[in-house]
């Protein structure tokens, strides 16, 4: 084999190895940064009337990692848990105020609130009724969240977040998981920002990097 041929093969192998490495991330911070990077289209946000709504898709492998991160686990357990999470779609929806309005009402919970009754209603809507306002749409079906958790930070941060899980719930699971586009629709009667659509492409959901930093 000539030197030139060896050189060609080495370059090709280097390129191949580099492109493989591109699809794995080696730390949790980098992974979260990757998900939060808007150019990867897994985090979408809109600002309407000073209220910023951010929707982040949480990949199944990341959810499995979160559950197992403080334990040593085998590949079989990790794959099995990832498979469970792959049967649903999980999102993190955050509400915050943009910089301009922060000075007037720093905490989103007090935005446009004029009485204790209004505050209680807002709290109740975010904690118990959010399923009435947030739905997932595919081409053929509409899904309501099977689980939702309102993260109350008790004033430590001015923002609030909600975890949402959508599952097939008796309708075709294929539609939820294989639809080329899914849209999270927020009909906002809480902060009066109107109806907002957040669209996620399946190709981008499938393109999330693999986790390479499991505890071993």
């Amino acid at each position: 084999m000539s030197m030139f041929r060896i050189y060609q093969i080495s370059v090709l192998m280097a390129i191949f190895c580099y492109s493989c490495k591109q699809n794995t991330i080696s730390s949790e911070q980098d992974y979260y940064k990757w998900i939060g990077d808007k150019s990867n289209h897994l985090t979408l946000s809109k600002t309407i009337a000073g209220v910023k709504i951010t929707v982040k898709f949480l990949p199944p492998e990341y959810l499995a990692y979160n559950e197992l991160k403080n334990r040593i686990s085998t590949k079989i357990i990790r794959d099995s848990l990832t498979k469970v999470y792959k049967r649903s779609r999980t999102f993190l929806v955050s509400f915050s105020l943009d910089d301009k309005t922060n000075k007037e009402a720093p905490d989103i919970m007090y935005r446009d609130i004029s009485s204790l009754e209004d505050y209680n209603q807002r709290f109740e809507d975010l904690t118990f009724n959010i399923g009435n306002y947030l739905q997932l749409k595919t081409a053929n079906n509409i899904y309501v969240p099977v689980l939702h958790t309102f993260e109350n930070t008790y004033g430590i941060t001015p923002n609030r977040s909600i975890y949402l899980v959508f599952s097939s719930n008796g309708t075709s699971q294929d539609d939820l998981l294989l639809s080329s586009k899914i849209e999270l629709v927020f009909n906002d009667l809480i902060f009066s920002t109107g109806i907002s659509y957040f669209s996620f492409d399946k190709s981008e959901i499938d393109n999330t990097p693999h986790i390479n930093f499991w505890k071993r």
Binding site: T47, I48, A49, E183, N187, D188, L189, S192, T193, G194, I195, S196, Y197, S199
Partner: protein, 180 residues
């Protein structure tokens, strides 16, 4: 001497032209850029407003169905009492009258409550759509260096606007593009 005064004149002339030019440019920068929007066109054609209206109409239909059901129950009982009063005992009539009174009260409470809820929800839905429109116009104005955007209303706050400062179609196109 003549040459010096000729040069001085030229310098003063050039200086004067530059000052005039600078003043015109400064005036142009300071003049606010104004545009107007035909509000009714935006409101009628914005996808967000249409969808808010559709959502409200769907809920209204549901409420109307419930009101009709309550009304039908009341009417059925009332008709039964009227048609069978002769064959019923005093106790049965009293029991029916109480039930009819309860149904009437339920109907009245439900319609009053629904009126309030419907108004509340309609206000919130339309306010949300207006907030989206206003936020978009703010972003659009900043991108295009527009200082003031005036909205026309049916009462005629803008009596005339030249086409070149009418940004309605561009705003509507951008709004609908950013909606979904």
């Amino acid at each position: 001497m003549m040459k010096i005064s000729k040069n001085l004149l030229q310098i003063v002339l050039v200086g004067g032209i530059l000052v005039c030019f600078a003043f015109s440019f400064w005036t142009y920068l300071r003049t606010p850029k104004i545009a107007f929007v035909r509000s009714s066109v935006i409101i009628e054609n914005y996808q967000g407003m249409k969808e808010a209206k559709t959502t409200f109409d769907q809920k209204s239909k549901e409420w109307t169905k419930n009101i009709d059901t309550l009304g039908a129950r009341y009417t059925r009982l009332n008709n039964y009492l009227i048609n069978n009063k002769g064959s019923l005992s005093k106790l049965e009539i009293k029991k029916l009258e109480n039930e009819i009174s309860q149904k009437a009260s339920d109907y009245k409470s439900y319609t009053t409550e629904i009126d309030k809820i419907a108004k509340d929800e309609n206000d919130k839905l339309t306010q949300g759509a207006f907030n989206q429109i206003n936020s978009f116009i703010e972003r659009y104005s900043k991108e295009h260096n527009i200082d003031i955007v005036i909205g026309t209303t049916l009462s005629g706050s803008v009596l005339y606007g030249a086409d070149k400062i009418d940004i309605t179609d561009k705003v509507l196109e951008g709004l609908n593009k950013s909606y979904r």
